[in-house]
């Protein structure tokens, strides 16, 4: 009899995780998709009027704040991509110049350990219009500089981008450094013998060799940008006006502040669609990588 049990216990051990996946993930996603087709307002309604099932989605695309959110998503994505560029430059320099490697790594990575609410609090204070960095710059005579970015709708997103880059550049540096370390060290001496310039060496040999690392970074960055919520709350609360709305913020705002469940669900479904659009390449990439490593083995 004990033999039987040992055959069944692995299956039984998977039951809790299976239930969680089935209920909290798959079930919940289907539930939200269903709600997005209804006219639910504060409380869920479960009747679908099939003649206008796309009503919430239509409303969404007529909503200025949602359109601003989508626009900001792209702006934030492009801006945060600087973190990858910056991360690569830092990694390349640390990798070439071994002196102080651990010190620099520690300094560049510490922002990653703290909450985005703390990061937001710090940068919100730096950007303070009366007492912040702007005041300092003006006091040394450069009165034409305006550095209180968060106070103006046109520049508020740049403030958010700066804080995000500050937070995450170290992470991309760590990934890039791991990528650089896996490159055969003889490439460097070979390139020196050939008289290849440093710039050419990086752009034509090293970066193409690291394309997997770059693609991984880009996908992780996109997923992070779609999820960006904390940093917006801490720095701008969506303002001034609605100038720093992003989809993650818009969706939660629609649910908690406006109490509009159907509408918020539609926005959440579109967030899922955007995530899937970014995520699909990742799945294909890992599948391809697995096949490649399988072939070389």
């Amino acid at each position: 009899m004990t033999f039987r049990w040992s055959r069944w216990s692995p299956q039984l051990a998977l039951v809790p995780a299976g239930l969680v996946t089935l209920v909290a993930f798959i079930g919940a996603i289907l539930w939200t998709i269903y709600l997005s087709l209804t006219r639910s307002r504060r409380l869920p309604e479960y009747e679908i009027d099939w003649s206008e099932w796309g009503r919430q989605y239509e409303r969404l695309f007529k909503d200025d704040a949602w359109m601003i959110s989508l626009q900001n998503l792209i702006v934030l994505g492009l801006g945060s991509a600087l973190a990858i560029v910056f991360g690569f430059i830092l990694a390349a320099m640390i990798d070439r110049e071994k002196r102080g490697e651990s010190l620099f790594r520690t300094v560049f990575l510490y922002p990653l350990a703290i909450s985005l609410i703390v990061t937001g609090a710090a940068w919100r204070w730096m950007f303070n219009p009366e007492l912040g960095v702007e005041h300092f710059i003006h006091s040394i005579g450069l009165t034409w500089v305006n550095a209180s970015w968060l106070a103006r709708p046109e520049t508020a997103m740049y403030g958010v981008i700066l804080a995000s880059v500050w937070q995450s550049a170290g992470f991309y540096m760590a990934l890039m450094l791991a990528g650089l370390k896996s490159i055969n060290s003889e490439i460097w001496s070979a390139a020196r013998l050939d008289g290849v310039g440093l710039f050419k060496l990086y752009t034509e040999i090293i970066i193409p060799m690291m394309k997997f690392t770059f693609v991984t970074c880009a996908i992780l960055l996109s997923l992070g940008v779609i999820k960006a919520y904390d940093v917006i709350v801490a720095m701008t609360n969506g303002g001034p006006g609605q100038s720093t709305y992003v989809p993650a913020y818009f969706t939660i705002q629609a649910l908690s502040a406006k109490g509009n469940l159907g509408f918020a669900s539609a926005a959440a479904v579109l967030m899922l669609v955007i995530t899937a659009a970014v995520f699909l390449p990742l799945v294909l990439l890992t599948a391809w990588q697995q096949r490649r490593s399988g072939a070389t083995r």
Binding site: A13, Y110, A190
Partner: protein, 310 residues
Amino acid sequence: MNDMTASHKALGAEIAVRSAPYFPRKKKVITGRSIAVIVFLSICALFFCVPLYVVIVTSFKTMDQIREGAMFALPNVWTLEAWDHAWNSACSGTRCEGLKVGFWNSVAILIPSLILSIGLSIVTGYALALWNVKWAGPFLFILFICAFVPFQIIMFPLISMTASLKVYGSIWGVAIIHAILAMPVLTLIFRNYYKDIPQEIMSAAVMDSGSFWKIFFEIILPMSGNILIVVLILQITSVWNDYLIGVTFGGMGGQPMTVNLANLITISTGTVRYNDNMAAALLTAIPPLVIYFFVGKLFVQGITAGAIKG
């Protein structure tokens, strides 16, 4: 391309051997280029340190000095007043009992969420990696997808479920949601770690009349020290730093520290006490920073494992 690098390799090695006696110690030379690199890196390091510096000095200043506007100046008088204020009497919403409330809430959330999430995912990862279970492949694939699902799409259903289980708006609600959301990633991390265990060990253990649980507790758990520490650090920092789950599921009574901090800094009425805000920010940041400075390497391992899952 491959041939080229191979020949370069050989050539490089040859040159290295030949030139070795002539330049016995050329490592010591500091070139102009490496000075430039170090200067550049130092400037970048400065950029990374400036916000921390500003936050620290502000938290020790008096409001009178802050109003003078010299953001980068050191405090005239170092005072712990703001720290005391932030810990004991800062307002979060309508309650003015300081961040200590949130601190203890965060601790109370952390402990059950760690036990639940790690307990659930280590067993799942072990079963998926080392036992022949049905549908292991599809299940792993679904977990992989779940790890990337945006929180917003499952938010309302989870609120309804926790409300009907009567845990919504409490520490338990937050802890359970943390455990659920961490499960896919942690399971994948454990599974990736266990799948490298040689099959021979498992066959020997099974032969030795080892049952599923016996093997787990007597063989697998004792050799999981490294991965457990990495996962523990990953979970501690991510639960501690979380805001979204805390604010959504904490209600009034179960708000973690980050929610208190966010309420404090986004307050728009009355005079803002920036020194309190910065002291509160530091208080929130200290636990993860301590972990980072002591076991930074494991922290980075956890973060990268959590992000790419091998």
